[in-house]
């Protein structure tokens, strides 16, 4: 029986992003055939891909507002069509800001803008912050992350505008009840963050990643591509991944093994493969 072709991934490169190469490499390590696709390519090309990633960085230099200008690009219209067809879409950091500004998440009211990734704001602390955090995966979620066996993932973040918020009262409670607050900042044991520094930016409900109602589009602020290999994990990180990292000290083959972010990419590529299989079968 011939081996199924690898799912094709498009990493969309807006001017000013800076994480496209490591994101493509992480997708390839998870089993995808990853291309970097410039934002001004023919949007019709998106139809040839099975999954999409909007990488981190500073699209359009964060002019006007992080993600705001990239959200108006024609390629987002085509991406909306692909997302509506159920293909997995992941926005990381600036990519998440683009997805929020473009109304992909939470997507409860069509294309309406329902959220913001606002400037970080915690009591007595504002502005850019970069550190490792722990993420708690929702117990029940429509996202492709629902298949993860590991529910607490350490990951780095680096942002100045990552505070999930909304003017709509009760929106985050509604999203959490529906499993759309897929990732929440937590401590190393998985207890949801009650304040700084575990919640680094003041996000409502300590949200770190929010998906759409169908679960195929995920906007997350931390960077899984910076945790895709064990060698990227800090040795002093609390929890089992820090322990694994210390145990692998000096052992290059083990350090090149999967890190905590790999599972996220593997889940996404797996979801894309399953979707294509289902489409091909019909």
């Amino acid at each position: 029986m011939p081996e199924a072709p690898r799912p094709r991934a498009a990493v969309i490169q807006f001017p000013g992003v800076n994480c496209e190469y490591e994101s493509a490499r992480a997708l390839a390590a998870a089993g995808a055939e990853a291309d970097i696709l410039r934002w001004n390519e023919d949007p019709a090309r998106l139809a040839g891909y099975d999954l999409f990633l909007l990488p981190g960085g500073f699209s359009y230099q964060d002019r006007v507002r992080a993600g705001a200008v990239a959200a108006k690009e024609d390629i987002l219209e085509a991406l909306a069509d692909e997302a509506a067809a159920g293909k997995p879409v992941l926005g990381i950091c600036n990519g998440a800001q683009v997805l929020v500004e473009a109304g992909f998440v939470p997507g409860l009211r069509g294309e309406d803008l329902e959220l913001a990734l606002a400037p970080n704001r915690m009591p007595g602390r504002r502005g850019y912050f970069s550190e490792w955090c722990h993420l708690r995966v929702a117990d029940s979620t429509p996202s492709w992350l629902g298949i993860l066996s590991e529910r607490v993932l350490p990951m780095p973040f680096a942002h100045g505008e990552g505070r999930f918020t909304s003017r709509r009262p009760g929106l985050f409670e509604e999203l959490a009840a529906a499993g759309q607050v897929v990732l929440r900042y937590a401590d190393a044991e998985g207890a949801v963050a009650a304040g700084w520094p575990e919640n680094p930016n003041g996000s409502e409900l300590a949200a770190a990643g929010v998906c759409n109602a169908a679960g195929n589009v995920l906007a997350m602020m931390p960077h899984p591509e910076r945790a895709a290999w064990l060698g990227q994990v800090p040795e002093l990180l609390p929890g089992p991944w820090g322990w694994k990292r210390r145990r692998a000290f000096g052992e290059w083959p083990r350090l090149k093994g999967p890190g905590p972010g790999h599972a996220l990419f593997a889940a996404m590529v797996g979801a894309a493969a399953a979707r294509r299989e289902a489409v091909d079968a019909t």
Partner: protein
């Protein structure tokens, strides 16, 4: 009493250029939006003291610190007390979309975009030591829009329509989930 400081780049403003291109080429406002300018507006709320003394104290503070503007790349104008009104919030309900056919008259609108909780508390504490009576300090982006509309009501709707982001293809200049836009002034204008 209120004093206001307007700060603009001396050089080409790339944020303005990008916003202009997004509004006119991506969002279809080319026929309605005749011009767009950007500045930073600082608003100093003062609880006591006479205006002349306070203006002098603020001018000295501007010379002493680069917290409010960078003289190497920016120019500033200290506005007369009360030169700009409090303004009124832009409302999504008023927003006109898609951009209608351009009207016959030119209107100039000043829209001030501030972040929620944007009170500059730390800076205020430092500045207040040298500026007696300072009770509030806010900063935000001031967008000056030149709009083609037949009436003031229509011009107000246009300002709301292009400033307030409501959907992927509607609005750009502010995200109402953490920012507020106030229409400070709206007046008939002249062609540049």
């Amino acid at each position: 009493m209120r004093l206001e400081l307007r700060v603009e780049l001396k050089t080409v403003d790339l944020v303005r250029e990008t916003a202009w291109l997004a509004l006119t080429e991506k969002l279809g406002w080319a026929a309605v939006l005749a011009d767009l300018r950007r500045a930073v507006l600082w608003r100093f709320e003062l609880s006591d003291g006479d205006e002349a003394t306070l203006r002098a104290a603020l001018a000295a503070e501007l010379e002493r610190t680069s917290a409010f503007y960078n003289p190497n790349k920016e120019r500033h104008h200290l506005l007369a007390g009360g030169a700009l009104p409090e303004g009124e919030p832009l409302a999504a309900a008023d927003a006109l979309e898609p951009p209608p056919a351009p009207g016959a008259r030119l209107w100039r609108a000043l829209v001030w975009v501030t972040d929620e909780g944007g009170e500059q508390a730390a800076l205020r504490r430092r500045t207040a030591r040298r500026l007696p009576g300072l009770s509030g300090l806010r900063a935000g982006t001031l967008w000056e829009l030149a709009l083609r509309a037949d009436t003031a009501t229509m011009a107000r709707g246009l300002a709301a329509g292009l400033a307030l982001t409501r959907r992927r293809r509607q609005g750009l200049l502010l995200n109402p989930h953490y920012q507020e836009g106030r229409l400070l002034t709206l007046a008939p204008g002249e062609e540049a």
